[in-house]
């Protein structure tokens, strides 16, 4: 076939495509009910249960219908920002926990106290709930939470002649770590990432805070925080039991763990199903205790109601229904996720032992730093942490400089 023919065929195919596929109108059900748009970022399995819950809620609220709209998690922030700017936003949305603060300070979301949130707020786990606490008011209802715990490779422990369990304290952790490490074979006791969120467990086990309670100062230069970072640096430099997985281009903790290179990593429950498929023998334990006991970070999402919605009350009604103990219990047992509703803790029966460990770990979680721009906070802290891990700065120098930058560029803006 010569080129002319190819071009003609291509043009005909294109025109056919235009005729068949250009029209993007879609039939919508019009039954007179008011539509509440709920932008979420759930996956297929989660969306299925969400739709069931919506059906139950609609049975009690006949004049409303909720339209769940799935948007990609990766783009949910720019999507919401631009949509809100031109008034195209939804009635309610599920957003990353760190995004609530920006939305609240930009006056986009409803203060939940309007609906007497204080009456039912006690039913939620404290750490996830407080991610929605901005300037003394609650703006987000937690709908999903995660935290990290210590995963360990049982075989590597047994091979080193050790009991397969996570050491209870950081001192024991170092002791055990030395036995597990064999750098000549590329085998290390521990591997960590270099981002603030992943390393919050270190700061939290030392009881260190990143931002002060009133949100005006950074407490990153406190003695506790310095001690936490010194511990991290000692794992790398002094005791040499960390694999250097935080370095750019290194084998990531997850990949090293599934390939039997790293004996222990911090990881969240979202990878349990994946790790089960690898057929490796692993366990999950509480993060070793520091001076402030065991602790962890908080991840997950909150749901918010937008100010422009004329049906904020109904949205609130749905979101609290969605996160009540019964629905949370169902959600979590079917999806193997951690409940955010304390009532659901008693209703959920996990077969998975690891999830029970996560539930226990979650109880010790401490509140994350809540700032307008969490991404910027990471950008301020991460290079300083890396400088300490690679031995270019002392923990005190780095954290003092990080705290000053945070106050200047984030808190006093």
């Amino acid at each position: 076939m010569d080129e002319k023919k190819i071009i003609i065929v291509a043009i005909i195919a294109y025109l056919a495509l235009v005729f068949v596929c250009w029209d993007d109108s879609i039939d919508k059900t019009r039954d007179g009910r008011t539509i509440l748009a709920f932008w979420h970022t759930y996956n297929d399995l989660e969306e299925k249960i969400l739709k069931d819950v919506i059906k139950e809620w609609e049975a009690q609220n006949a004049s409303f219908t909720i339209r769940p709209v799935r948007i990609p998690f990766d783009g949910h922030k720019p999507k919401l920002r631009t949509a809100l700017t031109v008034g195209q936003g939804p009635d309610m949305a599920r957003v990353d926990w760190s995004f609530v603060c920006e939305l609240a300070r930009k006056n986009a979301v409803v203060d939940l106290e309007t609906f007497n949130f204080s009456q039912i707020r006690g039913q939620y786990l404290k750490a996830p709930l407080e991610t929605g606490l901005i300037d003394g008011k609650y703006y987000g209802i937690p709908d999903q939470t995660t935290c990290v715990a210590m995963f360990y490779n049982k075989k590597m422990f047994v091979d080193a002649g050790l009991d397969p369990m996570v050491p209870p304290t950081w001192e024991k952790f170092i002791e055990v770590g030395k036995k597990l490490t064999d750098s000549s074979r590329g085998q290390y006791a521990f591997a960590m990432s270099n981002t603030l969120w992943w390393n919050l467990p270190f700061f939290n086990t030392f009881g260190a805070k990143i931002i002060s309670a009133d949100g005006k100062k950074s407490e990153l230069n406190s003695d506790k925080a310095i001690a936490a970072l010194e511990l991290m640096a000692s794992l790398v430099n002094e005791h040499k039991i960390e694999a250097g997985a935080w370095r750019p281009g290194a084998i990531s903790p997850e990949q090293g763990f599934v390939n039997g290179k790293y004996a222990m990593i911090l990881m969240g429950p979202w990878n349990l199903a994946k790790f089960n498929n690898t057929k490796m023998d692993y366990g999950v334990g509480l993060i070793p205790a520091g001076p402030a006991g065991t602790s962890t970070n908080v991840g997950g999402t909150d749901t918010v109601i937008f100010k422009h919605s004329p049906y904020a009350k109904e949205c609130y009604d749905f979101l609290t229904f969605f996160t009540n103990a019964k629905n949370q219990a169902r959600w979590c047992s079917e999806l193997n996720q951690l409940p955010i509703n304390l009532g659901a803790y008693d209703l959920v029966e996990f077969e998975n032992e690891h999830l029970k460990t996560f539930m226990e770990q979650m109880k010790h979680a401490r509140v994350n730093p809540v700032v307008t721009s969490y991404g910027l906070l990471e950008d301020m802290v991460n290079p300083e942490m890396e400088a300490v891990l690679s031995g270019q700065k002392t923990a005190k120098e780095a954290l003092t400089s990080a705290a000053a930058k945070i106050e200047e560029r984030i808190l006093n803006q």
Binding site: K48, P72, F73, W270, N277, G300
Partner: protein, 394 residues
């Protein structure tokens, strides 16, 4: 030893030949072994998913078959390698002594090129392999042979999930007609339509604009052109919100027009085409005009055919840009309507807050590179010509 042609049998040359032969053997064994295994793996994956209940149960069956087939793959690779080695050695012996240096140079060149090809194609091979791996196995490295990246428990689950023909999706889709349209096929066709239309319109407008700036007289032409170029200095992100606002005001939110309308005026395209059109001699245009060609005819008969390589290059670049333009398409997508979701945005739906389904992303990527690969294969001659011609202007 003196050969019959009088040339010496150089030990250095023999040594180089042996080294090159060793390299040839190892490359051939590793590459052909992987390729044979990949072929067997694909067949096994299809065979195992047939007649099996759709679910995780398919994995062990395919793993069994793969395990039994390992000697076959290795055997085939060894046979091929031995055949290749014998052939090369006979070839070398058959070569006249004075031509052996050239032979070795050629052999080295071919081996280097093969290594280059392997390096370039490796990411694509990895993509293909990963798309057949069950969830959780994507990151596992084979302990006995780190070069072995072909899955030993192949599954078609990823492809089925992406195309929404697995059991769970089918059940979900039967309840909801909108849900049926939320599949990769829809996103793919949407993107194809958006990218092709945008690329066609951009090339049309840019070539007409470039013709005017290059060949026509108009007052303040240079200044206007400079002004246009100056807009290239402003990052496109700055326009995003105003453009989005305008699109919404025009009632185009969530339509295919919204996906590319603000990008139709391509200053870069005008600049690139103008640079090329400057090199077309004016005498050609004058000749056409003397023959009675109208303005449109001059453009169509003289300019477009002469500038065709560069126009095609612009077409390809624009197509690529719109094929992978995530942020803008995300902003103007109406997620309530799957008919407005394009491929880059649809692919992002596979990533969660902390997890990425690598297998799903890779199997979707297998489909998404097809149009680009086809376009490049068809137009690469023009493309390379156009890239170099646009780059330098004497």
């Amino acid at each position: 030893m003196i050969s019959q042609h009088g040339g010496k049998m150089s030990p250095v040359r023999v040594f180089i030949f042996i080294v090159l032969l060793a390299a040839l053997i190892s490359i051939s064994y590793v590459v052909s072994g992987q390729l044979f295994k990949f072929g067997g793996m694909v067949i096994t994956a299809f065979a195992a998913s047939d007649g099996m209940p759709v679910g995780d149960g398919a994995a062990p069956a395919s793993a069994d078959v793969m395990l039994k087939l390992v000697p076959v793959f290795n055997g085939l690779a060894i046979i091929l390698t031995i055949a290749l080695t014998i052939l090369t050695v006979r070839w070398y012996i058959g070569t006249k002594a004075e031509e052996r240096a050239t032979f070795l140079k050629k052999m080295f060149l071919y081996e280097a090129l093969v290594i280059g090809v392997v390096v370039v194609l490796f990411p694509f091979f990895w993509m293909l392999c990963t798309s057949f791996k069950p969830s959780g196995q994507e990151l596992i490295i084979n302990k006995s042979n780190p070069f072995d990246i072909v899955p030993s428990e192949p599954t078609l689950q990823n492809f089925k999930k992406v195309l929404k023909i697995d059991a769970a999706s089918v059940a979900m889709a039967s309840e909801d007609p909108i849900e049926q349209k939320k599949n990769f096929g829809t996103y793919f066709l949407n993107s194809l339509l958006v990218a092709t239309t945008a690329a066609f319109l951009v090339t049309l407008f840019a070539s007409m604009g470039a013709y005017v700036f290059s060949k026509k007289e108009l007052p303040y032409k240079q200044q206007i052109f400079m002004l246009l170029l100056a807009t290239m200095m402003i990052p496109g992100m700055m326009f995003m919100v105003p453009q989005f606002f305008m699109i919404c005001q025009m009632g185009m939110f969530g339509t295919k027009w919204a996906m590319f309308l603000p990008h139709l005026a391509s200053v870069f395209g005008i600049f690139m085409l103008k640079q090329f059109m400057d090199t077309i001699p004016n005498s050609l245009l004058e000749a056409a005009q003397i023959d009675g060609a109208s303005e449109w005819q001059v453009f169509r008969v003289v300019i477009v055919p002469l500038a065709f390589p560069i126009i095609l290059t612009l077409f390809l670049l624009t197509f690529l840009f719109h094929w992978s333009n995530f942020l803008w398409q995300l902003i103007v997508t109406n997620f309530e309507n799957p008919l407005s979701i394009t491929l880059p945005v649809g692919l992002a739906l596979f990533r969660g807050q902390y997890t990425s389904e690598l297998g799903l992303i890779m199997s979707a990527s297998c489909f998404s590179i097809v149009p680009i690969a086809v376009l490049f294969l068809f137009a690469q001659r023009y493309f390379i010509e156009g890239m170099t011609q646009g780059a330098v202007k004497e």
